[in-house]
Amino acid sequence: MELIGAYKPGTSPLHRMDNTARIVSFSMLFAAFLIASGSILGYVFSVAVLLVLYRTGSIPIRPVLHSMKRFRMFFITIFLMNAFFQPSENPFFSWWILTFSIDGIMFGLRMVLSVILLTSLAALLTAVATPLEITDGLRTLLHPLSFLHIPVDQASSIISIAISFIPVLAAEGENITLSALSRGAFPGGRKLKDKAMSLIPLTVPLFLSAFRRADELSFAMEARGYNGSIKRRVKLSFGLNEAVSVFISLSILIAAILLKGVSIVGS
């Protein structure tokens, strides 16, 4: 099954974009989706934009939507929370703080649709950019805050190092598990307690490995003269691809604002 949030390597314009320009574009798209939500026209607009974006990124949308089935309980909860707490003048029934009405049902459906659209957009972002690229984009974007003595560089270094270690440690965890299995260890029984107990022999070597790697990294950083107070360079490679992407995202945002205006005037 397709995993939401998994990176899919590729050479599409969305893959090749500068990390910061990508974050800026997607931020505008998120804003556009939020603004456009609420009216049928707005949802049609957002779905159309989403389909074009998935096509541009060469990412198939069907598996992403299919994998959202796993979140059905989450969506049902959102629907119920909104459907039963929406005040209405013509409720089907009303009891204590709960009100059930056609307005509530429509509001609940709109919220679920908005969450699905925003999740799909977020899934697209993580499909065309690695976590490290996203962190890098955020770091460049937040760089001006370092002039206010906010430790953006250190924080982003910590985050990017932590993220980059996840696949390394995951691979080591897998090796440790296989090694334990090959030496006769058996996965725990069906009870949660048994499963938790069976993880203990795997956790200790994994922690030791993580500490060893952290030790090696600290030596490597010190050997390269690491100095936390240094202000790192911020490099933005803003070419035609990035300019076009940001322009299109901005246009979509403006179109969403206009659509919202039209729907407000219409109602």
Binding site: E133, R232, R233
Partner: protein, 268 residues
């Protein structure tokens, strides 16, 4: 002229000495291999030379500056580049060009963009500058490490079991690249493989934290008794010669496989 003077140093992590009364001098543009088995203190020595571990007994002078002088430690580190064993544990930035710029930024060097471009070009990674380092292949990761070291333009290069995660061909390629890039520098390779020490100018053999031999590769690596004492496997050609000797076939001393081929060819 780059120089390292190790003067009667001893070091302990708490239980027994890892290095004991060790002294040697290395200077000029040459390639020195420090050879020893696991636990012989090789990697500890690298960390002490760069001031990464506190030295209490004896002294190490790098380009005439003591590693005990905390005020000068930055100067020492600026003149030394270390490439450790596992590249995955050394990448600090999410993009290759930033990782290459990490050292120059720390030392507040100028024209960092040019330095990065030159360094990546020297290791044929110019097309990979926007890539996430962790997504590179094994050989590319090693070249990325070389680029990071090259960027600080060091006088001294310490290779701590570097490239040992590559296959034979990959390692030879990296050795050739290092030899080509830093031919005017002092290179010190740490290794447990005698075969990898053959091409160096000088071999220092460690055993139990003590120096037991210091000489040319031919002097040190052809001495099977010395290598056995250090628990190091002799080079391939030396092992073949020993096997033949055990079977009563005597051939002249050889060090490289090329020499062995030559001797066996003429043996008829």
């Amino acid at each position: 002229m780059p120089s390292i003077v190790v003067d009667n140093i001893s070091f302990s992590y708490g239980r027994g000495d890892v290095l004991s009364s060790l002294s040697f001098r290395a200077e000029g543009s040459c390639h020195i291999s420090i050879l020893g088995s696991n636990g012989s203190g090789k990697s500890t020595l690298v960390r002490l030379i760069d001031g990464l571990l506190p030295l209490r007994r004896g002294d190490i002078l790098v380009n005439g500056i003591s590693v005990k002088d905390e005020k000068s430690i930055r100067e020492i580190r600026e003149s030394i580049a270390i490439i450790f064993q596992d590249p995955d544990s050394q990448f600090v930035s999410p993009v290759l060009e930033e990782d290459t710029a990490f050292g120059p930024e720390n030392y507040e060097m100028e024209n960092i963009d040019q330095i990065v471009s030159r360094s990546l070009s020297a290791v044929s990674l110019s097309d990979f500058r926007k890539r996430v380092p962790q997504t590179l292949s094994g050989g590319e990761k090693e070249r990325a490490q070389i680029a990071g070291a090259l960027a600080v333009n060091p006088d001294i290069v310490l290779l701590d079991e570097s490239f040992s995660m590559l296959d034979d061909d990959g390692r030879k390629e990296m050795d050739a690249l290092v030899g080509d890039i830093w031919k005017e520098r002092l290179i010190i390779s740490i290794t447990h493989s005698a075969d990898q020490a053959i091409n160096s100018d000088r071999v220092i053999l460690l055993s139990g934290g003590k120096l037991i031999a210091d000489g040319s590769p031919r002097e040190v690596l052809c001495s099977v008794s010395l290598l056995r004492k250090a628990d190091v496997r002799p080079p391939f050609a030396v092992r073949v010669r020993e096997s033949l000797k055990e079977r009563g076939i005597s051939i002249p001393p050889v060090l490289t496989t090329g020499e062995l081929k030559e001797v066996l060819w003429n043996f008829r």
